[in-house]
Symmetry: D4
Subunit: 250 residues, 8 copies
Amino acid sequence: MKDYREILEAVQHHRMTVDEGVESLRHLDVEDLGFAQLDHHRSVRQGFPEVVYCEGKTPEQSAAILSRLGAAGQGPVLGTRANDQVFELVKQSVPDMQYDPLSRTVFLKRGIPSPIGDVAIVCAGTSDLPVAEEAAITAELMGAAVTRVTDVGVAGIHRLFAHLDTLYKARVLVVVAGMEGALVSVVAGLVHQPVIAVPTSVGYGTNFAGVTPLLSMLNTCSSGVGVVNIDNGFGAGYLAGMINRMGISA
Amino acid sequence: MKDYREILEAVQHHRMTVDEGVESLRHLDVEDLGFAQLDHHRSVRQGFPEVVYCEGKTPEQSAAILSRLGAAGQGPVLGTRANDQVFELVKQSVPDMQYDPLSRTVFLKRGIPSPIGDVAIVCAGTSDLPVAEEAAITAELMGAAVTRVTDVGVAGIHRLFAHLDTLYKARVLVVVAGMEGALVSVVAGLVHQPVIAVPTSVGYGTNFAGVTPLLSMLNTCSSGVGVVNIDNGFGAGYLAGMINRMGISA
Amino acid sequence: MKDYREILEAVQHHRMTVDEGVESLRHLDVEDLGFAQLDHHRSVRQGFPEVVYCEGKTPEQSAAILSRLGAAGQGPVLGTRANDQVFELVKQSVPDMQYDPLSRTVFLKRGIPSPIGDVAIVCAGTSDLPVAEEAAITAELMGAAVTRVTDVGVAGIHRLFAHLDTLYKARVLVVVAGMEGALVSVVAGLVHQPVIAVPTSVGYGTNFAGVTPLLSMLNTCSSGVGVVNIDNGFGAGYLAGMINRMGISA
Amino acid sequence: MKDYREILEAVQHHRMTVDEGVESLRHLDVEDLGFAQLDHHRSVRQGFPEVVYCEGKTPEQSAAILSRLGAAGQGPVLGTRANDQVFELVKQSVPDMQYDPLSRTVFLKRGIPSPIGDVAIVCAGTSDLPVAEEAAITAELMGAAVTRVTDVGVAGIHRLFAHLDTLYKARVLVVVAGMEGALVSVVAGLVHQPVIAVPTSVGYGTNFAGVTPLLSMLNTCSSGVGVVNIDNGFGAGYLAGMINRMGISA
Amino acid sequence: MKDYREILEAVQHHRMTVDEGVESLRHLDVEDLGFAQLDHHRSVRQGFPEVVYCEGKTPEQSAAILSRLGAAGQGPVLGTRANDQVFELVKQSVPDMQYDPLSRTVFLKRGIPSPIGDVAIVCAGTSDLPVAEEAAITAELMGAAVTRVTDVGVAGIHRLFAHLDTLYKARVLVVVAGMEGALVSVVAGLVHQPVIAVPTSVGYGTNFAGVTPLLSMLNTCSSGVGVVNIDNGFGAGYLAGMINRMGISA
Amino acid sequence: MKDYREILEAVQHHRMTVDEGVESLRHLDVEDLGFAQLDHHRSVRQGFPEVVYCEGKTPEQSAAILSRLGAAGQGPVLGTRANDQVFELVKQSVPDMQYDPLSRTVFLKRGIPSPIGDVAIVCAGTSDLPVAEEAAITAELMGAAVTRVTDVGVAGIHRLFAHLDTLYKARVLVVVAGMEGALVSVVAGLVHQPVIAVPTSVGYGTNFAGVTPLLSMLNTCSSGVGVVNIDNGFGAGYLAGMINRMGISA
Amino acid sequence: MKDYREILEAVQHHRMTVDEGVESLRHLDVEDLGFAQLDHHRSVRQGFPEVVYCEGKTPEQSAAILSRLGAAGQGPVLGTRANDQVFELVKQSVPDMQYDPLSRTVFLKRGIPSPIGDVAIVCAGTSDLPVAEEAAITAELMGAAVTRVTDVGVAGIHRLFAHLDTLYKARVLVVVAGMEGALVSVVAGLVHQPVIAVPTSVGYGTNFAGVTPLLSMLNTCSSGVGVVNIDNGFGAGYLAGMINRMGISA
Amino acid sequence: MKDYREILEAVQHHRMTVDEGVESLRHLDVEDLGFAQLDHHRSVRQGFPEVVYCEGKTPEQSAAILSRLGAAGQGPVLGTRANDQVFELVKQSVPDMQYDPLSRTVFLKRGIPSPIGDVAIVCAGTSDLPVAEEAAITAELMGAAVTRVTDVGVAGIHRLFAHLDTLYKARVLVVVAGMEGALVSVVAGLVHQPVIAVPTSVGYGTNFAGVTPLLSMLNTCSSGVGVVNIDNGFGAGYLAGMINRMGISA
């Protein structure tokens, strides 16, 4: 509530008129691009700038927003579900911008101190890698040290057990799985840290594009699991990044 | 096609008229109770008498059918989803009939040779026991030796691993689980025998009365799994019993 | 992997035979009640004893497991979806056991140091209170200091804003809402801490017993949200409790 | 019932035979194009000519109907879900016809008096703009003055609050949102005018192509909300246009 | 934004300290009952006091909130999904409170001027009457004159046509239907006023407790229709009441 | 269109005023009971009086409507989903009314000539009998001769084949089945008459209260099948009765 | 049962050996194309040759089956969901084959006597025409006289009423509608002949590719309606053709 | 548990250090390709090497895994949902690899003894052949003799009966069907061997891409049926192959 107090004080001391006070309350840090309201205040409020979800926007719209974010701040920038075309447009104005085609993320690693903590990204199968990598890049932009464990589905459970040490030493785990999503229950039953579960749309028939692993994860018999939307690697990486820095940076 | 041949020969040799032949083709072993057509031929055709699903029938109807089956044959009799009332009525005419209130099965252990093979019934939680027991009793009536493994859900996976020997030596396994049903994937990934998976309606919220473990089992990343309807312990026990006697009795 | 190392060393130094080693690997801390395998090792592995989900168990089964947990350890005990009958049975052997009828939890506050951190439980409406309270009690048994904020649905958003300070100072938030679940998006948009979202089955018609707020929470446009099953107050409280102690106790 | 009275009077006064009366009752204002029955009477009955939904029709069919409507009346004409091809065909015969590629509407602004009232079209994100614009154009063809508020999703709720004055002075609001659709609950909780809610298919995974915001809007805890089909900008704009002119034009 | 201006002015003129100003911003008109936050400001903001949805609350909770609303204001009070028990408790403290058992509403007709406008409540079948009556009572509490048209389902469409005059002279219509909900399409095709559609849970089998008429209404081929949740008579009556007074009271 | 012609002629010949003509058009055979509009004209229009669906009506409402229908006409009367209480009330005023508790139908066999044609009602299992009997009674009230074939599910397909002659000689068949509903495909593949398929809610788990047999019947690989709602014996009997009399009575 | 009798007699009179009898029973009229078993006996059994559903088959497979049917019999031939390519291949061997691109049917009008009866195909909108035409062509191949009524949706119900005479004089009606499918309820409420309802996948959003009109039709409040699968014009035309010839040809 | 015993003994006899023992437990037969963990131990554990599901992998990834499997072992290799491109890449390093374009399988027939037992693959329609062939090839790679029965849908049930001898002599049957899947119920009712049911996505409208036959098969009234995921020919062939060798090879 600090901002409101500042405005009240400014009005009281006649450094600001009442009308100006009302205006100030309404136009804090909102910059208007015409088709999008940028929210620069967010990096203060949430510790991370607004993320651009590029699907459903034209490449030009996505690139314009990303370029503006790249120009305006000192922190990292992230665009998800992007493509080559967005990247080509953005890097004209922000040459340091990077693109990872596997996870389809456009990002700028800026203002990130050396990685802290340990976020383990555990991935059931090769086909789940794009979602896992979106989570990993997001967590890295949040400042996390990330460990990747890949292709450890429960059909051959000893493959997972070969990585037990990695699981045990993480601060928080992101488990990415399609098919029936049983990996979440097994991992969460083994560790005592928070597990963020990401169902993927990998599968066919009654997988229903990820509904089956989603339901499986929501009904897990193991404790300590929070679930995000299907294929939402970003959401999982963001939440894991938040949790990872607890007691370290905050 | 033997029966048809017999009828053709009887007609050819005038031991039977054409009209009698037509009748014979139509009325083989079908006995009419008014509200139900009993199918005594089934025990020849499928090696097990017709099973009575008591839900949706009046206790009197269920008891009448079970009594008739008890009187007519030499083999076992089974009624599922029964209750005390059905049992009380049946045992008046068939005193050897038994009742298991946990699984709600009424049954007659008759004409069953000493148990053969090994059917392991693996059950995730205490709440899944009624369905598991329906499977166990059915398999026993099919002539199988049955081993029960209970409360070995994946949230504490070492509980399951304590029973690995039991799993390995079974001829066929029935895995019964509610919640997210991950136990099926773990067990089927460990063994090299057929696994019959039974989802149960144990759970709440997005469990959707068993739909979640059903979908999980249909999408298992492990091989060698066949799935039956939610809570269908009978169906799993029957199929396991069939498979169990292959190469032994047949 | 410490236990396995210990066993290997014991076998190497002939303090244990090979057969004993194999047995040790298999029977670690698993106590058999006949109908349930207790998992005492869990409090070491996950920092919290096994929780008993009483629905689908007979009161006698629930009480027997809870009593055994009460007798065996030094830590807290928790039974969810319990009722009067379970409580009456348990307190005969464990007199310190408590019962909260609103949330239907039976619990023993034992071995809990003074509360740490700050878990805010934010609840949209009066009808959501049972689920919110299950979360609160669980988090308290995990050692958390808990702040409750009640009846702050978005239909009158200034009611929520009156509690902004409370939201801002929490380490982790649990948001409990039925109807359309919009409270999660609003709260998570305001704070920069992890939010655990619990959809409840409060509503009618197309609420579909909580499916609508569940879907709403999974699709939130705000970041930093993990979702649990419908009405799963326990799961949310447990995950929040885990996150709350990060950087403090661990 | 006026028309029937007129016919009855004409028959009574022998200005019309009985057979002619029967015919008159049946062929009022229905013009037959072969593949479509045009309903010119509609502009009298409902105050707006028939609108052409172009999806599922060939461009030639759509263009023929639109051209006929353009030739026949004095009022506005509207085709939704159209494309370039339809527009190119129509403007050959109706040169004043316009095309908006964002919302894919073909329209003729004809016979519309100066805009009245105030319809606010509030849009959650950039990706929802095509649906919002379909609503806006429809309302304008209904004679409404339209105010557009864009990119004010609840993840940064102060962006919405910067537009409170606009919301308060509208006669009726159309709120367009995908994702979880929480914007509707927040807006309808703030204003005391009718809100028409339009879920869009913007989102992924469990968004289910708009089902999630639809359900969210139907279950809103705020009062005064009517919902239309997913992506149905036309339907919302039409209903808002109807309401907007109440007490002004009618 | 008037209240904020007032507070700013009070602070400027030192009639209020800055701390008091911050407090004022936060505690406007929110009264705390312990389990519920009453929102008295709502009647100013939305022109109608908060409505109490009694399902999921104890009768005591519902009665306490209704009594407090009855004591606090000058306007009408409404509780929906109530029962005898709630009513008996409330009328002890608010003797003028009324109860309609058909629609299960508890209400206080207070401060309502003589009825204005015309809201037609059109109801498909006898079984839909409880929902229709909830809509009617709500609209009346909003100040509307209400006309009821009952049992005019489309299976005998001439029954509807006998009421055409009533439909034509209404300012806004509420159409209540279960089964397949076709009545909405027929009515909305006949009139040129806004239609609020209420699906009811009347039907069986694939009616899915109202989902079928809901879908039917959302997909209506007629224009000018807004839909509310299944069985949500209150929501329809409230929205109709809002629309009805446009250009009259506002 | 005959009635309209009559009215036109009456008006033309001044046997009726214009106002009377308008009234006549609107009040043809509609009798108002307050909570229900009786449609006596229906027996002329459709050859069968209005049928009363008693579920969702109070016994008093159902009985009042049935009594009025019993008093008003010369043809049969039918109430479905009734119960003892309705029957007891109706027979006080209409002593000839009958009640069948299996199908829960109240009916009056009045004005029905001797049965014509042949409607075969084929029923898969004993539990499907209530629905089958509702179909049978309805068809009989439509004037049909009805043949019942019971308990011929496809698990023992020779039971069905024993009734082939009955199937072949019917004019139209009603097939009633729950579970997976495969009986419809088998029967419709054998005969060359119209088949009306009725899914029943008999089954459990993924039967989803009849959705599975409904879907099965809609997707049948056999031709000549029309499907009605789950458990809608009345609808099937009515349609079969209509078809049965084609070329005989009409 | 005639064929079996013939075989029995042939065996009895030694015109056939027993082995030949068994063979005869098994290979009646089944001709093997390798990838498809043609069923020539069907035209005797059901009065219409097998229909080829071309979707999911290669054009070559479809064409081969259609050509074989064209060569083998004297009656009509029909292929549905075909395309140009299939037609080009078929007409090489069967020059009289025709193709209708609107409904995507390939057909041979052979051995059809002059049209009898009257099947009315009533179609809600222009976009529903392909399905309606598939029904019309099928019914014509079944020997029916067909009347087409197009674009008479309920949004302008007087358009339908202009065709009442056509509806009244049909022997059976096929009603084809997408969107909310209300046309079925209105038509079936007006006529006393059987109505075959065909939901189409025309619509968007919650239309769910035809599920909404399907549900609407299954729940119709009007009697005498049988429903077929979404977009199944063939199935409706076939059933209507069957019913149409009752009492005329049979 | 043999491997663990061996390691314990090796450690006890100092043939292995404790550290080596821990390592041995963790790295048994897991070979790391970077993006995939190969599981060579599987052929020992389950009697068949890991199968590669190629969908969702790049052709290069699929080919690399298949090539490695081809190089590493002595047994068969199988890749499902492959395409030409995968095959072209693989055969460069493994020239004996084969490709079946109908079922889209890449496979290596290596180390398979002469076929044993009898697996009947029964297929409802021509369009189901790709799934059926995937099952057949899988079973053959498992060592089974396979008999194919094609195009025997229940619409012409005598086509199925012509193959009764084939059905009776199989050890296990795989039944593949789309549409309504009734073939499973009919076949399982006729035989007394295990039936593995495979729903296919063949159909349209309410077939819902295979959900209808899946539900039909799960609800079959016949006994002895296990179901696999939609279009999962591999899963069915694998399970059938397992069952087929029981009592022969094992």
